[in-house]
Each structure stands twice: as C-alpha cells, then as structure tokens.
Symmetry: C2
Subunit: 187 residues, 2 copies
Amino acid sequence: MKASGALELGEAPKGSTPKSVANRGISILDFILRLIAIIGTLGSAIAMGTTDETLPFVTQFNRFRAKYDDLPMFTFFVVANSIVSAYLVLSLALSIFHILRSGAKGSRIILIFFDTAMLVLLTAGASAAAAIVYLAHKGNAKANWFAICQQFNSFCERISGALIGSFGGILVFVLLILLSAVALSRR
Amino acid sequence: MKASGALELGEAPKGSTPKSVANRGISILDFILRLIAIIGTLGSAIAMGTTDETLPFVTQFNRFRAKYDDLPMFTFFVVANSIVSAYLVLSLALSIFHILRSGAKGSRIILIFFDTAMLVLLTAGASAAAAIVYLAHKGNAKANWFAICQQFNSFCERISGALIGSFGGILVFVLLILLSAVALSRR
C-alpha cells in the first residue's frame, strides 16, 4: 500500500533516497487516513445532530419529544466532532505539503501536537456521549435514573450508532500520530 | 529547566554533540513529567476508589449509601487511572534509558504509541466520569434524571475532586507526546 502509493507518484524532486520515498508513502497513507477520519467524525456529528424523535401522543404537561440537545453531553459530542472534522479538512493541506516535501520536520511536530489535542477532544466527546447512551439503555437503580430507551426507541438507536464514527476516528488518530512519529524518525 | 538539567548531569558518554545534550534535557523533563502524571492519576484512582458515603438515616427499603461502584463509569474511571499509573511506572524505565542513550529511536516510537493509547484510555475514563458528575450535580429534566448531590453532598465533592488529577494527567500526556516528537526530530 505505502510503497505502491509512493511509486505511483512517479517523478520525485531532488534527493529522492529510499528513505524519502518511504516517507512519501507514509505521507500518502496519512492523507488517506485523514479522509477516512473526516467521513467518520462528520458522519457522527450529522447523525447525532439530526436526531429528533417525537412520540405519537401528547399530554397536558409534556410533548414527549427527544432531541440531541436535551442533554449537554450530546451537544458537546456534536461540537467536538464538528471541530475535529473541520480541523481534519484544514490539516489535509499540511498532509499534501508532506507528500511534496517529505523531509519537512517542524510542520510534522506541529501536526503531532494538534493531532494529539484533537484526539483528546474527540475522545472526551465520544466518551461523555457513550456514558449517557449507556445510562439511557440501562438506567441506574441506585441513583434513581431510569432507562429512557423503552420510550424513545429510534432515538436510542440513532445516538448509539452515532458513536461508531467517533470511535473509528479515535483509532485513526492514534495511527496518524504513530505514522508521524515514524516519519520524523526516518529523516 | 531543560538546559540546566542536562548540564547538571555533568559528564556525557561518547559523541555528546549539542543536539544529544538537548535530547538528554528533553529526556530528563520527560522523566519528571511522568512522575507528576503518576501522582495525578494514582491520586485520582485512590480518591475515587475510596469514596463511600452513608447517610445517617435508614428506611425499610433503602440504606442510602453511595459508593463509587454504584455507577459503572466510576468503576471504569478507577480502572483506567490504575492502568495508566501502572503503565507510567513501567515507562520510567524507558525514560531512564533515553536519558542514558539520547540517540535511541525505536524505543521512542514505541513510547509515543503507548503514550497515545494511554492518553485515550485516561481521557475516556475522565470524560465518562465527568459526564456522570455533571448529571449528579445538575440532573436532567427531560430524561427525568434527578440531581443526587443534594443528598450525597460529600460523595459529590469527592467524585468532582477526583477528576482533577485525571485531567492534569491528560495535559501531561499531551506534553509527553510533544516532547518525544521533538526528541525524535532532533537526532
């Protein structure tokens, strides 16, 4: 994958040692992984952000409607995933820069730092939302918090599904940081 | 801090260029930061793990007692912080190895990878616990989940305080990954 990607690029600028070719392969893999992470996090943000279920009955006091912004952790989840996917789109520029100039050093360190910060943000959002999804499914007898998934069935399916893209994004970020570290060490 | 730490070490083995001296300074800072993170995460695990409040009245049905393991997210928090602090203790060995051999490459990549994985585990634990602490303080009207902090006052103070060490640990891990990246690039 890496090697063939590097070879497909064809002609290389000055100083194309085997190491710089390998680094170009790493940069191309980096670019592809970022595209995957954009799909995952943007999908998660949209899936959670459009969640809205209204039950087919109304009482005097309640409208029995569940939206993602009823719970602040879900709002945080949508905001975190949106910020991370916007960051990923911007970082594609640096990723392309690294494909063209595989010897770049300072920009890779900057990328590792921001990748790590975004990994923390994404993990925090996904984990907070997962804790609430767990409560919604199981409830907690000690705290007298009841499971709400019996009533809001499709709401619960939607919020559970939205977590998948986010957790996929976390895995990709760990790989991205590892790839950047390998590229830094190979110079 | 970095420079003086490197100078205090006095004699350096073969090939002590300015770069390897700077790398030794980074490794010493790495070691100190790991010690700080151990205190933070171990403190968090102990603070949360020993949380236990029994209210001074008993009814026929309830014992009105709050422990950390009433909520699975708090158990996860204790487990995550324990695993991370155990990892940090083990990683001190590699950190010392890097002080002695500042040119090491492969072991720094391994360290970055495991640091990142542990960062994810720590963030997930802290964030899930924070979500529940938030619910315990504020409750949620839409989901009919009531705030439990009015009754379990000291329990709530304890679980809120336990988060601090964990979030401090997250900051330290981000710095550790950044330091390792800088050290890798300086070879």
